[in-house]
Amino acid sequence: MEIMVYSENEKLFKELVTAASHLNASRITSAVIGSKEDAEKAAKYTDKVLFVDSSELGEYKPKEYVEALCNIVKASDPQVLLVGGTHKGNALAAMLSVKLGEPSVTEVSDLKITEEGLMVLRSAFGGVAVAEVRVGKKLFTKVASPKIACVKPGFFAPAEESKNGEIEKISVDVKSSTEVLEIKKKETGAGLEDADVVVVAGRGVKKKEDLSLIEDLAKALGGVVGVTRPLSADLHWAPTWVGMSGIAVKPKLYVGVGVSGQIQHIAGIRNSKVIMAVNTDPNAPIFEHADYGIVGDLYQVVPKLIEMLKS
């Protein structure tokens, strides 16, 4: 069985290769829309690379890129297409699924193939729960008709180089009426995904300058600082946030400081080994999800914590 993988994100691409090998793929093909170097890199991980040179397409535009991806899929015969579940990937997968008349599923954390077809685990109810979903009635219906699954980052170990796949160039002829005016690159997060200790600042932190207090605590614990969504998306104090719609973390120790613990945040910290929280409100939902809680004002508790950690 052929499984195709596509992600513009290099780390996630490697995770998809691992996911594909867990599905017992007899052949793994990568779809690459990018540079020649991107195609050569992908060749080290998969049996074959089908490659559209992005210089013929320009920067990422969903409608134009999905044409390219569609040509790639049709040039091969995958039964499953695994797409990296980023904003770019999710959009392409959903549009491609319409073009191919095959189902797509997003937010996938695990998959397997049974007699009934492709079964996946995806998050449900905004990350509160996990759903087991059957994708499509059967695996194989017609040529170039893959079931499409968008896999979330961080659930499979990145694959190692092990192949020297052949690269085949696929041509596209796409006319576009959309213009890319500007691309504002974002800073990347502070290595939150792989950190052993993550200290998250929430709205309880009153001013941007006060983040230094949280940084001091993180330093004392040997960890990195993250923030909740409002601190990043609304107040722009940090480039990324922790949670379901941001970065999912799985540290040995998570510390939430002035974090209320709304479900969308909890969904991204659930895999932490130990959860600790500091909050003035004894009824804050985070305490239900915490192993250890300190009810108190972070401006008093955190300096004391740092002092006692140092001594």
């Binding site: 904003h87 500007e182 974002k186 998306a233 080994k273 300190i294």
Partner: protein, 257 residues
């Protein structure tokens, strides 16, 4: 500018209860609310209308309870709401929902722009607006953090690694993020007036569609992570040190510090 906004009446996931024995969600009669990002999509449409004139129409697909969202849609200021309901639509998959939305849009007629939330509060699948765009063969711009339509459509899409600023043709489909705006809170008199306004109620037969799904949800459970819930009181400065010491001792025992 004639705008169509896709609005889902989602489960209020914050309030969802789970059966303590089976871990399954208790969905019967569970509270629902207008999906968070859809409220922003509607706000954005209303702002465009206030600037440029035109109409704002909404499409809602779902089980019969979904009709409850109409009052709020009108109270915020939409011109006309279209609702497609069926008991079986609680089990709809994204392909079916997108098809129903598209067939409804075809009934509504002319439009310049389709707005939606980037992801719904309950399913959070990031799929329906993209599928609507693909079915209509329109350009799609996901997760907009800002947009203007005066003198052509300009959209800033947050695509994770960067913010992409597009100059896009009309009509297009744009899905919006939580941050794009702060939605208005309707006044009491607007709410009262809204409850008397008529809306168009379609059934699947009206659209020539039936419930056929390719995604089948087999089981939903809440992953149960047992937590110790050891909480100490540190509001009183005299007790603070003891409390913190207790927690630090525990963390050392856990071998995490």
């Amino acid at each position: 500018m004639d705008i169509i906004v896709c609005i889902k009446q989602s489960y209020d996931v914050q309030q969802l209860k789970f059966d303590p024995k089976t871990g399954e969600p208790m969905l019967a009669g569970a509270p629902r609310k207008m999906s968070d990002m859809d409220r922003r999509a509607l706000e954005e449409a209303l702002k465009i209308k206030e600037n440029l004139g035109g109409t704002v129409k909404t499409v809602t697909v779902g089980p019969p309870e979904s009709r409850d969202v109409v009052k709020e849609i009108y109270a915020m200021g939409a011109d006309e709401a279209f609702v497609v309901t069926d008991l079986k639509l609680d089990k709809a998959d994204p392909d079916l929902t997108a098809k129903i939305i598209v067939e409804t849009i075809k009934k509504i007629g002319n439009f310049d722009l389709i707005l939606a939330g980037a992801a719904s509060t309950d399913d959070y699948s990031w799929q329906i607006p993209a599928k609507v765009a693909a079915l209509l063969d329109l350009p799609f711009f996901p997760n907009a953090v800002s947009m203007t339509v005066d003198g052509g459509l300009v959209v800033e899409s947050d695509l994770g690694d960067a913010i992409y600023k597009y100059k896009a043709p009309l009509p297009s489909v744009v899905s919006v993020s939580l941050e794009i705006n702060e939605p208005r809170i309707p006044t009491l008199s607007a709410i009262l007036k809204a409850s008397r306004k008529q809306f168009t109620d379609f059934y699947l037969q009206d659209l020539g569609l039936e419930v056929v799904t390719e995604l089948e949800v087999r089981k939903v459970v809440m992953p149960k992570v047992e937590r110790k819930n050891v909480v100490v009181e540190a509001t009183d400065p005299s007790k603070m040190e003891d409390g913190i010491k207790k927690i630090l001792d525990e963390l050392r025992k856990e071998n995490v510090i």
